[in-house]
Amino acid sequence: MKLLNLLTSVYLIIIMLALLIGGFFIYRKLGAEIDFELGMELDRQIEAYAERIRQGIPPEALVNERLEINELPFQLEEENLSIRDTIAYHDPLSREEKQLKASRSFKIENKHYRISYYNLVVEAEDITETVVYTMLVVFFIQLVFLGLFFRGISNWILRPFQHTLQEIQQFNFQTNKPLRFQESKVSEFNHLNEFLERMTQKLLKDYRQIKEFSENISHEIQTPAAVVSGKLENLMNLEMTEEQAHLIYSAYQNNERIHQIVRSLSLLAKLENEEFEPPSEIDLSKILIKNIELLSELITLSELKLQTEIKPQVLVKMHPFIAEIMINNLLGNAIKHNYKGGWIKIHLDSQQMIIKNSGSSLQNNPSELIERFKKESDKPESVGLGLAIVNQICKTYQFSFGYATDVSIHTTTIDFK
């Protein structure tokens, strides 16, 4: 729900409530006021009749359908004005109607008269109708004003906020620019903008530092590791006993693993930092075929049956270097986690790439193998980052990556969307 719509609806609900409550009080006040005024009017009428009796007109001559004059015993106290509702026959309408009756007694020339005067009451329905009508008019006027002015004005007030939202949406690490906002007249917006400016500056700084760190760490670890490699290589070429050879080999192997891990981690970091913008669409079919050729000797040596179904000219937005790593990793896995006489099936079309291969059934959950440093085999030359890299590549390019096993069939699927 948009903020403006929310504000409008809340405002409308509040107006409705206010009108309802207001209407109720207006209804009550209006009723009371009408009754009071009517009573005053009846009182004046009674007073006028009393005056006429005083002037000597016999009361019998005055009586009409609205007027009632009774004689009371003289010794009774003079009654004050009393007003009450009553149902009485109404001539012009020829039916019983709710009427207001005012009565008062007067002592005129030794006689005590009670004069009662009736009048039609303004009916409750009429008052309700009036009140509801008035309130509805007010409500519609409000609605029109809301539509014309409130929304426009709110939009105008919220414009800096909308602008801020847009800026945040467009923020990315590649452009390397912290957000900058125009000064707003609303201090809350200025606070928000200030905070966002500071935050994006901090984000970019951290991002740069992480980037530098990942570059530096690969340099800082690789240099000493390279020195160690070189020393061991030179050592291998000196006279050595078998025991020494095994020690050297073990050291050399483990040093190689350090190389592998650092190289893979720095690649992962680069992918996470989105350092590889897709320059243009590349022909994945060509890259796939090229990589299959590069590995074809291995496939033959492993006595694997290869079945390919590759549509030509599958264009994907991806960095060619990354595409090679991805394919190389997947094909490598398909060859490695296979058995002699097994098979590999490769399928590529414009929607997806599927690589299926035979292999032993897994002990681990397939989704766990996608995580870093999780591996099924205990082969020392594997560091367990292959699928993590493929997964990260797919995340970077917003492909969906799936890895599933069905007893002895391993399937990796990449949907390009």
């Binding site: 080999y249 000797e297 790593i325 490598g332």
Partner: protein, 227 residues
């Protein structure tokens, strides 16, 4: 062959000098760009091994200086800054090859010799070892003049072995030479064994000597059998 090594890490420098000197390669060292400029202007080199992160600047700027020389040496960039941009920039600026650190010394030697062969011996692009003759241009290997039927990888392997003759080559070095950096998920050692076995067989069938020895399971060595 005479090369100039521009590298600030002394240990690495020592490793390289030690490995290359066995091949009769004369290696002079400059620890920074200033010394390197001095040397390149006073002497002639066949090849420059250039590190990019140097104490007094980026090695890429050195490529500009090399451009102005009358006789331009070949350049092999060796850098730990394994970034794609550096590789592309370096090759654009006239470097002949780019080898990311950490590298195997055997790989360095192979690349160095390949560059050297390409530029200096472009006519007679041949590698010989006793009865084995390899023509790199048309990917042909002959034993006693008889052509061997080698696969692409077997051919690469043979060239790599002969280039590093009499040296122990670790399995990892061979794997990376044949399949590149991302050999992580290949059961490469089994394949190396297979390739070596096939290569041996093919050379023997053509009447060649068996020059390949296994060194305590570390790796392989190609050279005159020691008596």
């Amino acid at each position: 062959m005479k090369i100039l090594l521009i590298e600030d890490n002394q240990e690495l420098t020592q490793n390289i000098i030690q490995y290359l000197s066995h091949e009769g390669i004369i290696c002079e060292v400059a620890g920074n760009l200033f010394d390197a400029q001095d040397k390149i202007l006073s002497f002639e080199y066949d090849c420059v091994l250039l590190d990019l992160m140097l104490p007094d600047g980026n090695g890429l700027s050195f490529l500009e200086i090399l451009k102005k020389l009358k006789v331009r040496p070949n350049v092999l960039i060796i850098s730990a800054k394994n970034s794609l941009d550096d590789k592309i920039n370096g090759l654009d600026l006239g470097a002949d090859d780019y080898l990311p650190k950490p590298f195997h010394l055997s790989e360095l030697l192979a690349r160095l010799k390949a560059i050297y062969r390409r530029s200096k011996l472009s006519g007679s692009d041949e590698v010989n070892f006793n009865e084995i003759a390899i023509q790199l241009q048309n990917l042909q290997a002959k034993v006693h003049g008889k052509p061997l039927d080698l696969t692409k990888k077997e051919f690469d392997l043979l060239v790599f072995l002969i280039t590093n003759k009499n040296r122990v080559l670790g399995k990892n070095a061979i794997a990376q030479h044949l399949w590149g950096d991302y050999t992580d998920n290949l059961p490469s050692f089994d394949f190396i064994y297979q390739h070596i076995k096939n290569l041996r067989k093919k050379i023997a069938e053509a009447g060649g000597n068996d020059y390949l020895t296994t060194v305590y399971g570390i790796g392989y060595k190609f050279g005159e059998p020691q008596s």
